[in-house]
Amino acid sequence: MKAKVHITLKNGVLDPQGKAVQHALGSLGFGGVDDVRQGKYIELDLAETDPAKAKASVEAMCKTLLANTVIENFSVEIG
């Protein structure tokens, strides 16, 4: 069973890398980009076959290691 984890900065946390990408897009002629936020995408291959258990397990992994919940949100997709 696969788990897909998206980790993004919380609202209100400055993302200087996102800002730099936004400016670069503007200078390349891609207008109309109001904001850019960048994050991480992690794929996990799990032995677990029960989707609910898999999700709970991956959420625990996010809270313990994969995300720093002081500044980051995470979302978990199973399947």
């Binding site: 946390v13 400055l14 200087p16 890398q17 730099a20 313990t64 290691l65 994969l66 720093n68 002081v70 500044i71």
Partner: protein
């Protein structure tokens, strides 16, 4: 005083801080490999600078969960003193021993130069060797030194006097220009509530000997030896 320096794969300031400690305490500190899970009795544990685990995932995130850190956390809870410098500061925040998080520098560049620091609190073993408000010089060398936390935690850190050092100009004034990395409220170093854990991004061990061009970092090690011997 019994002191130890934790060594992770990728630590690169472990020997520098060992030299600074030896100069102040007259004996070599123990060097503890990150896989060790049993520590002898210790008064001071230093988590040194470097790039532990290649900064994978987030700076300090992997090291914070390494076997030795469980023991370091337990010792801190028992009252041992723990000093985290640069990557060590990142590791201590990731381990939950210190508030906040060290984000990518606001200017996105690795910053490697001397900065001025204002000593904000002298009521700790780490900072008792300094005068309140004293301005000292210290080298910084980091990519992720932008200290950040939520407004409630920031207020608590300020109210409890947990700010140890702030980036300032030579006269001791705070400004965005004197902030090398965008840290919230120019914060360069913070204590835990009990003041037995300190993390800071600048490197006092790199200016602890006149041969290195200055001794502004030495009072930190001398103060620890005096307080813990």
């Amino acid at each position: 005083m019994k002191a130890a320096v934790i060594v992770f794969p990728g630590s690169n300031c472990d020997r520098d801080v060992a030299v600074a400690l030896e100069a102040s305490m007259g004996a070599k500190p123990l060097m503890i490999w990150h896989r060790d899970t049993e520590l002898p009795p210790l008064d001071l544990i230093v988590v040194p600078g470097g790039f532990s685990y290649g900064d994978y995932l987030r700076s300090g995130a992997m090291a914070a969960h390494s076997p030795v850190m469980r023991e370091v956390k337990a010792r801190a809870e028992q009252g041992a003193f723990v000093l985290g410098i640069c990557n060590g500061f990142q590791i201590l925040t990731e381990a939950g021993l210190l508030p906040g998080v060290l984000m990518r520098n606001a200017g996105l560049k690795f910053v490697c130069r001397d900065v001025c620091l204002r000593v904000e609190a002298t009521n700790s073993a780490f900072t008792k060797g300094y005068a309140p408000g004293q301005v000292i010089r210290a080298p910084v060398a980091h990519h992720d030194g932008n200290w950040f936390t939520d407004p409630d935690t920031h207020k608590r850190v300020e109210d409890e006097g947990q700010v140890a050092f702030r980036y300032c100009d030579e006269g001791g004034s705070l400004s965005p220009q004197s902030n090398p990395n965008g840290s919230l409220a120019n914060i360069a170093g913070v204590f835990n509530e009990r003041r037995n854990v300190l993390g800071l991004m600048p490197h006092p061990e790199r200016l602890a000997d006149a041969m290195l061009g200055g001794t502004d970092g030495k009072p930190m090690f001398d103060g620890l030896v005096e307080a813990l011997s």
